[in-house]
């Protein structure tokens, strides 16, 4: 009798755990898997979603790969090590990230959000298709220092992956195409479009405060050339005048070898900007105040400075202290709590 009672308890606990799991795997609030849904205030995605749709099993496989340290040579670092959900998938508090064996990179881990709309990836735009993106950190000696071939071999030899590939793709065969497509499915689902800004734009009942509205007007007039709505980036490469760093990182030039690209970097999205410090390609600015002060007072002349930052010899964007406060109030409306707290995007 006692045993029966215990096993009943165990069954109950198990059911609770399973239900909990089942609930946490879905991006939708009601627990149902929605697939990829483009927000009403966004343009058409760049990634060919109709050709490569997101399935629940593919998404879950991609998520497991994203959080799996076996993608690194010594099995210590996963994608999620440097792309932390609570900080909009940046490496909060790190100017540059550390890979395996504490090797340091030269650039700040960018936010992972709305990648289905991106025409290029990395600060220098070196990768042109989302499927090919994970190979770069996997094979970078200062990040995961592993080869794609070796990752595939590890996955094939594992006990846990073959059934998951079968679930996602219909057979236990593990290939780089399936692995990278699954990772793209996970990354494509990382849509941040439920900030206060979005709810105001979609007229879902929210409205800006006076400061936020004033900040929005200032933002549109002074910042939006590069940080275009609704992605808050025009996806171009710009030199924002922070000055050449001690490592002489030439940014986009290393990819294109075009002189006018020297010292330019991809304009980052400002979505979730308040929670993605530190800032700039090398994480040299620790606070949003430092960023606003930079644009207002500290823009330096250097080759290929963005034209908008030089008006007749006056460098930077004029911004009074009050204006900066209002812009900050607006930027705070770009924080998307449902994105950074969505349990479906977290390590399971």
């Amino acid at each position: 009798m006692k045993h029966q009672w215990l096993s009943f308890l165990w069954a109950g606990a198990l059911a609770w755990v399973l239900l909990g799991c089942a609930k946490s795997v879905s991006p939708a609030a009601d627990g149902k898997f929605t697939g990829f849904v483009a927000p009403a205030n966004f343009p058409k995605p760049v990634y060919d979603i109709p050709a490569y749709p997101v399935t629940q099993a593919g998404f879950e496989l991609g998520r497991k790969l994203f959080y799996d340290a076996r993608l690194s040579r010594d099995n210590t670092i996963s994608c999620g090590s440097c792309h932390i959900q609570g900080a909009a998938f940046t490496h909060h508090g790190h100017d540059v990230s550390h890979g395996i064996e504490d090797r340091l990179g030269k650039r700040n881990a960018p936010a992972l959000q709305n990648m289905a709309w991106y025409t290029s990836f990395m600060w220098d735009g070196g990768v042109g298709h989302l499927d090919m993106q994970p190979i770069a950190p996997i094979e970078n000696p200062v990040e995961m220092d592993e080869s794609l071939a070796s990752v595939i071999a590890k996955l094939k030899a594992s006990a846990d992956y073959p059934p998951l590939f079968e679930k996602a793709f219909g057979s236990r065969d593990i290939s780089s195409a399936r692995m990278l497509q699954a990772m793209s499915q996970f990354m494509n689902m990382l849509v941040s479009a439920n900030s206060k800004y979005d709810r105001v734009m979609r007229k879902e009942g929210d409205s800006f405060t006076a400061d936020e509205q004033a900040g929005y007007e200032l933002f549109k007039a002074r910042c939006a050339t590069c940080h275009q709505e609704p992605l808050f980036t025009n996806q171009q490469f710009m030199n924002n005048g922070i000055g050449i760093g001690p490592n002489d990182d030439k940014g986009r030039y290393d990819i294109s070898l075009i002189e006018k690209d020297k010292y330019t970097f991809k304009v980052p999205s400002l979505r979730n900007v308040m929670i993605t410090a530190p800032y700039m390609h090398d994480g040299r600015l620790r606070t949003i105040d430092a960023v606003l002060r930079h644009y207002a007072e500290e823009v330096q002349a250097s080759p290929n400075l963005a034209p908008g930052l030089n008006s007749g010899g006056r460098l930077g964007i004029p911004l009074t202290a009050n204006e900066r406060l209002r812009i900050k109030a607006f930027l705070a409306t770009l924080t998307d709590d449902s994105f950074i707290r969505n349990p479906a995007f977290a390590e399971q």
């Binding site: 025409t119 990768v127 595939i152 294109s256």
Partner: protein, 268 residues
Amino acid sequence: MISIFLMTTLALVACKKDTAMQYDPNVKSEITLEFDNVAGDKELQLNTGSYTNASGQTFNVSLLQYFISNISLTTADGRVYTVPQLESYFLVKEQDVASQKIKLMVPEGEYTSVSFMIGVDSLRSTRPIGERPGVLDPANYPAGHEGMYWSWNAGYIFYKMEGTSAAAPADPTGNRKFRFHIGLFGGMTAPTINNIKMNTIELTANGTAKVKTGRKPVVHFLHDILKTMGGTTNVDLAANSTVMVSPFSANIANNYVKAFAHEHTHNE
């Protein structure tokens, strides 16, 4: 009796000589394009062979591999056969003899020229991973020197040659290596350096390829690495021991596009 036999034989020989071969363009048959890597008038021998470039520098070669893709063949009467694109990517490796023989099924006919790309076309370089099978799959390259894909500047290495030369500067390990990793497909958005090279080689002078059921013609191309080292630009291994993503890469691509020649054709 003997004379009848002789006459019959003569008649048969005469027939064979006088009648043009009949080809059926609706039937496909085999042709092999063989890429034989040489150094001037020497066979290329990895590591052990010693060669001298146009700048008078002695060197040896430890690795040579390149993509041949987008192949098309033209017959004497002007018919062009383009190999279906996804079946038209090959990685020729000096250390792998089988990779040097590209077997294709093409319509019967007498082919007088062959066109191919050295490298991978720009469109393929922008496609999703699912459209990059076989030699285009970055997971199919062994770790280390044999990789033919740049993950950080996403694109294929079209042509890779590595070796050592006393003329090359010593690296931190004391080795005097040279490394040519030539890629760059022209960029995803803004136009950048484009080292994709097309080559059309005429076969008439040294033997057309007679593709017909029952025959196995082999078109034997030579690829002369001395011409990769010198030609339009004579490479100075002291100044250009490492050529990868740099403007100088275009000089090497302009050299090696002219380093392919037709030697002969077997029509057995």
